[in-house]
Symmetry: C2
Subunit: 512 residues, 2 copies
């Protein structure tokens, strides 16, 4: 059996775009090749609201008919309507232009909220061979049915997870051995809002050995002959490279799919903005990223020089816009109410919000979207200004703890100094008052991140954290800060989801 | 059987608080009374993250033991642990201080993400009578088992929905007749973040006739003798009163449960802020709400006088803080970049964001949380400034379309002019440029809201909207605005959820 594995990057609800991509591939395909496109390839995904499904159903039906006119063989994912009130997440099997079978998803997942439960994996015949067709999520049910087929074709929209040890490949290999069947898995790549899909489409033999594996982040086609599979070696990407590529892809897709060309970013000279601007330039090109330096009376000399260096290293346009006048005007404006009162976070936040006003004004005037520069550690403990540095169209490192940001920065600098070394080496500071350091308010990031990872990612309770040997007072301080800052996390810029505990997509706490 | 229906307002994850409330009731209870508390009464709900459950399990076990010491009879909801990795959403039945039975939830719902599926409704004996105990969501499974009992006790955490026609009572009545059994339903009241729980605990006889019905929004205890049930008449609240009470309760709980005493709100003289400040005062008292008037050169005379009138009618503290200096400073600051360019939304947003800075500075200095004043119509079409008037700790009317805001305003004014009539009668305007009207940019709200309701709440697709007779160009304009503003809705203040299509909790669209 000749198969073309099509790992594409679809656009949500832009069916014509998706259909064109599919048509191009069918046009150049031989008649004896089965082209396999992924889950909801025609409609894009995630779709969320149900009224959108109904419009899409009409559109995808028409486009699906047009694809059939090519008389080629293919499998494509699309919403398919049962009757007026039901819509299935479906895979259509087309044999030389004729619709021969439909598989509908049974185990519905996080993006399937408005789909109706379907029948699961279907068995069909193609070129005299028995094939099973369905969704990855339905494989367990199929195994129980003990049907012998030559090949199982599974489609999925699997999300990227930086901590993923690819156990799903081991699970699939076990399935292949249990079924004594080859397995083809087709996943999409690309991003939709916060969500990054993780590619890694692959085919394995009956022993569960991977014989072809596609990239994690690139669109790719791969031609395989199922009678002639050869085991393939794989060089995995390192942790930092995965994070880097996932973030860059997410930014690229966010801007491209929303038809925004330009990005604007506040450069403080600190590590966070220095890393985000690198990711932004990698995604959009240096000509499309503008840096704004916004020093205040509390800015140290190095913050300006480090930020300038960061911009110059990347060759981007940058502007220095001091916040002095705006800060002074805001103090003057508040004076009738603040007279005689001690300065506190009110004055600190005024500076962060003045900076937000400047960056957003630039963005509104020149059609640029603001890149947020917050990290997950700050977000967890509320160390940032809501409607200030917590803001932005998309947060590239919002799902990375501060220690991971350092790790990524060093990896970016592995060959040359792209990020100023001083931004990496100096003590982190918000510079909203004289000589302020993050460590005045927070535990050192090494310690903070360990507690946060155990609490958030390893799901340890307070008592378990104590048993792990962390200082009880520090635990309580961190958990208290975590707890009282949920209301801020709810309004932060959507983070590129790099883990299962991303705050803006997966990990929520009570607000009250 | 003597039953005390306990409809309380629990605090999420504040187990001691909840246990004290329960203990107080048990202390004054007679020995022959069964006190029924609701779902997750001990722990509060929704809990969200799993590590929280583990800590709570330890705490609720201890507190549960203490409650048993009273030697009274009661039913209480709590997380109960199976083994290290399982936790059930459970109801514990205690007979004169002894744990006699446990019912675990089978059909898990939106707030049960981290609970393990349990067994559903259990049958037990109390004082010689056969009782079924479990969760409302599990009633269908129980009916199929055809077990005859005298009374079915169902607990639930049911959410408020302004459009709810109380079909659940008809469904329950049908269950009562099918089972030939009395049914007791216990729901909680109160709010957690955006979520408002809808009370309406009730008991019905075997014919499905309601014999006692508790309030929608108030904590209440009701004593009933199941052998002596008498049909009760019910006077339903009108639509506006339900909305009003739900919003006031949500604000009250948001502030109380987060230990925030004071609220601050920008008063523009428009209908939205005029309604929200009334709700704020009803929730927190006039001494705890401060209004800030922030006129600009584009403000009409009536905006200041209407806003003042609104504050004076309510007797709240208010301050007039012109944005002139801050706006001028921000224009001067941006001048090197904006020189020679036409004014556009950049300059308009600078004004909205200067106002945000002022309100938040007041809040930061005096420990007040900002009340957001956006409505659902604006949110749907992105008519508002992100990090400006879209901001705030909680949005009281964020799930109300503009036409509902008018309806609520007129209801508030039914006896006297609390909201200045001019705020209700004048044409809505953002006043960010000379003579601006909302209708310059948007369809009239009457028309806009009809389209939005059909699209969002009635789930009509574009083609169905056309068939309903709306102007095609207007539909496409509205749907386009709706589509491109998802990124803003993601960062808006959390709205008090009054419907099944609240943007910040239920109704999401693709960002790209």
């Amino acid at each position: 059996m000749k198969i073309n594995i099509c790992q594409l990057n679809y656009k949500t609800a832009d069916c014509s775009y998706n259909a064109n991509k599919i048509q191009e591939i069918l046009d150049k395909s031989n008649d004896d090749v089965l082209n396999v496109f992924g889950e909801l390839a025609l409609s894009g995904s995630p779709l969320y609201s149900r009224n959108l499904y109904k419009d899409l159903y009409i559109e995808t039906s028409k486009l699906g008919d047009a694809l059939c006119n090519s008389r080629k063989s293919f499998i494509v994912g699309t919403p398919a309507r049962g009757d007026e009130n039901f819509c299935y997440n479906s895979l259509v099997f087309v044999d030389k232009g004729e619709v021969k079978a439909l598989a509908t998803k049974r185990n519905l997942g996080r993006f399937d909220k408005n789909f109706t439960q379907g029948n699961g994996i279907e068995v069909l015949t193609y070129n005299g061979s028995k094939i099973a067709l369905g969704f990855l999520e339905d494989i367990e049910n199929f195994i129980r049915r003990k049907i012998k087929v030559e090949l199982v074709i599974l489609c999925t929209n699997r999300l990227f997870d930086k901590d993923d040890k690819e156990e799903f490949i081991d699970s699939l290999a076990l399935c292949a051995r249990q079924l004594d069947s080859k397995i083809l898995l087709v996943n999409r790549v690309g991003a939709e809002g916060s969500y990054v899909f993780s590619g890694t489409s692959l085919i394995m033999n009956e022993k569960g050995e991977v014989c072809k594996r596609l990239s994690m982040f690139d669109t790719e086609e791969a031609f395989v002959e199922t009678d002639n599979l050869v085991i393939e070696r794989h060089n995995p990407l390192c942790y930092e490279e995965k994070i880097y590529k996932a973030s860059v892809l997410a930014l690229k897709d966010y801007f491209n799919k929303n038809n925004i060309k330009k990005a604007v970013i506040g450069l403080s000279g600190g590590i966070d903005s220095a890393v985000v601007v690198v990711l932004g330039v990698a995604a959009l090109g240096k000509e499309n990223v503008t840096g704004i330096l916004m020093p205040s009376e509390y800015s140290s000399e190095h913050s300006v020089s480090d930020a300038e260096k960061s911009a110059k290293n990347l060759g981007i346009e940058y502007h220095t816009i001091p916040i002095k006048d705006m800060f002074a005007a805001s103090l003057k404006t508040m004076q009738p109410l603040f007279l005689g009162l001690q300065p506190n976070t009110a004055e600190e936040n005024l500076q962060a919000r003045a900076r937000l006003m400047i960056v957003m004004a630039y963005g509104n005037k020149f059609g640029a979207a603001m890149l947020n520069t917050s990290n997950k550690s700050e977000s967890a403990v509320g160390y940032g200004t809501l409607y200030g540095d917590d803001s932005g169209a998309i947060s590239a490192i919002g799902d990375l703890y501060k220690t991971d940001v350092y790790r990524l920065a060093r990896w970016i600098n592995r060959n040359e100094e792209i990020i100023p070394m001083n931004s990496i080496d100096k003590a982190p500071s918000a510079e909203l008052r004289y000589n302020q350091k993050d460590s005045d308010t927070l535990p050192e990031y090494d310690e903070l991140d360990k507690i946060l990872i155990d609490y958030i990612d390893n799901n340890k309770s307070r008592s378990e954290l104590i048993a792990l040997g962390y200082d009880e007072k520090t635990i309580d301080r961190v958990l208290h800060l975590f707890r009282i800052n949920e209301w801020k996390r709810h309004q932060e810029a959507p983070a590129v989801r790099l883990s299962r505990t991303c705050f803006t997509t997966d990990f929520f706490n009570p607000i009250s």
